[in-house]
Amino acid sequence: MAYLRVDNVTKTYASQKALDKVTLEVPGQSIYGLLGPNGAGKTTLIRIINMITRPDSGEVFIDGHPLTREDIGNIGYMPEERGIYKKMKVGEQAIYLARLKGLSKADALKKLKFWFDRLEIGSWWNRKVEELSKGMQQKVQFIVTILHEPKLLIFDEPFSGFDPINVNILKDEIRYLNKQGATIIFSTHNMASVEEICDHITLIDKSRNVLSGEIHEIKDQFKTHTFNIAYHSETALTSILNPSDYRIVKQEKLRDGFSADIQLLNGTTPNRLLTQLLPKIEIVAMQEILPSLNDIFIEVVNNNNRSAHE
């Protein structure tokens, strides 16, 4: 059952629609990607889930009941950068925010010690936040967000200030929290950064939900039956393959042999492709080309635009 359900939510700012009848379901204990370009309405949706703004119409349900103030205490929200006092010392601030969320001082200290050690930032305890780099600040922010062990964690553009090593550290921690039972929502315009970690996604474009679902299903749905083969042979592929069943998308000479992307048409199977090719050329490798989220997104957005124009 869905842990969080956004039902037909619409929000208009002055003259501009930020969200237009958005509906989506976040399954319990999933890692959910909320994807879309800048200004699509992701942050507005997150702010509605956090009850920071109210929707003009529609409703949000959590665990089966309409969202209330008390539920917000069970959400950890990390806004895009910032969200902490620049002039305060790291440790003092972490304790303060933890206690505001209802932890006792001793509890907060214990948990903070655990997480500061885990992320190897214990030595920053007495430094002022403004002295830290952006990435370091985000680590502090991350800890502060998750410290009270909320059931739902929402990260808005969490990787923006990080180098690749720290992105991986953070992803590992998020997976760890997910295993501990937390449901996680990412919001980002950088599809590549969440592709491997999310199990469900929603694409938001121009204030609307244009695509929702499990990531494997979506990739299946959008796959173009295109295969990449690497081979040795001077023989032209066009002389082997019937153009009504195969379309050669791309062909190039590598340092050592050739590579070609071939799209299978009319329900042709990869096995048939192989049987056609094997007698004529020497195949080194063959692999299906799955669309990246980026490709899917561009395709969906373009379709969306086209249908809007028609």
Partner: protein, 437 residues
Amino acid sequence: MNKIALIIQREYLTRVRKKSFIVMTLIGPILMAAMILAPVYLSEIASGKVTKVAILDETGWFFEKFKDQDKIDFYYVDGDLKTEKVKALANKDLLLYIPLPELNIPVNAQLFATDQPGLNVSAYIKSVMKNIVETKRLMAVGIDPKVIKKTKTDINLITIKVDETGNEQKSNTEVEIGLAYLAGFMIYFFIFMFGAQVMKGVSEEKSNRIVEVIISSVKPFQLMMGKIVGVALVGLTQFLLWIVLTFVFVGIFQSGIMGGDFASVMQAQQGQMAAAQNGSGINAAAFSQVSEVLGGIDFKVMIFSFLFYFLGGYLLYSSLFAAIGGAVDQQADTQQFMLPVSLPLIFAVISSSVVIQQPDSAFSVWMSMIPFTSPIIMMMRIPFGVPYWQIGVSLGLLVIGFVITTWLAAKVYRVGILMYGKKVSYAELWKWLWYKE
């Protein structure tokens, strides 16, 4: 711990630990202590040793006219300038040389010294010479100086304040005017300084998106009140520390440097001041009059009302400042709302001269009742004496005033603090007042 207490604690501790707060807290009392001690200290230095002045008077007009003073001894010499100068300076004495003038009236004199002579020395010499030359001139035109002295008049006006029960109290408006201005401007200064701190803090929380993180665990009203109360405590702390530290600094100075005879020095100084004026007792009277007036002012009422009006005025305005900070996106945008909010305060300061001239006029009374101006205006009226019932009514209205402004401000704050990218107009603020929770 209660969440609002937690917020108050943070606001208080982060501010009190700031360098600027510590510097302000130390510099204030140092300046005040310096103001109290400087005159005493200077006279102490000046009176440290006896200055000896040799007088070489070629005119003969001033023979026996220079009398030994408390710290100045005079002796007459007779010789030529060169040798007497060398002799006097060798003894570290001063030499006053009054040459024979061309026009028969000695108005020029020279004072030779190895060190810069004290002001009291030259002042005394000048006054003696002036006196004698003037007297001689008057005699020359046939007027007896005694007649002039008799006709010389100093008007010393003493106003007697009579209260309802018929008690009489001497009052001196100058002292009261000074106190009135001091109290009024201090309130003005405190309200603006700490009100601005609240606004800045709110604005910081909004632009840093800290509210979005905190709002899940705290109500907007708690956040606002926590900040306002925290800053108020900072203000009170600073005020009390100023008073205590001023006394401490003065005390240290007394016992450490002056060897404990501060009081006697003070007294001596007062005596000198009185005596300095050619023995005319009028200034001594004026001086004792000042202390009498100060005694006549009810300092308990002054301090109590200062604290109360500071708190009341601060609460009233800082909640409005908090609402402004919450309503706008950037601190730079606060200007357009700052003006109407600070207008009553500025108006109160502008009208202070009118109020002080006529502290009991209808205008002054009304201004000291209206909560937006009362903290400043009532504090300016109190040194002149205000019936207790008026203070009571004014305080009551102030409490009602800040309850209402806080309530309204909280509504604007609640909506504004979470609203971004919207150009805020007055119409918009009006709408926010009616939003339901």
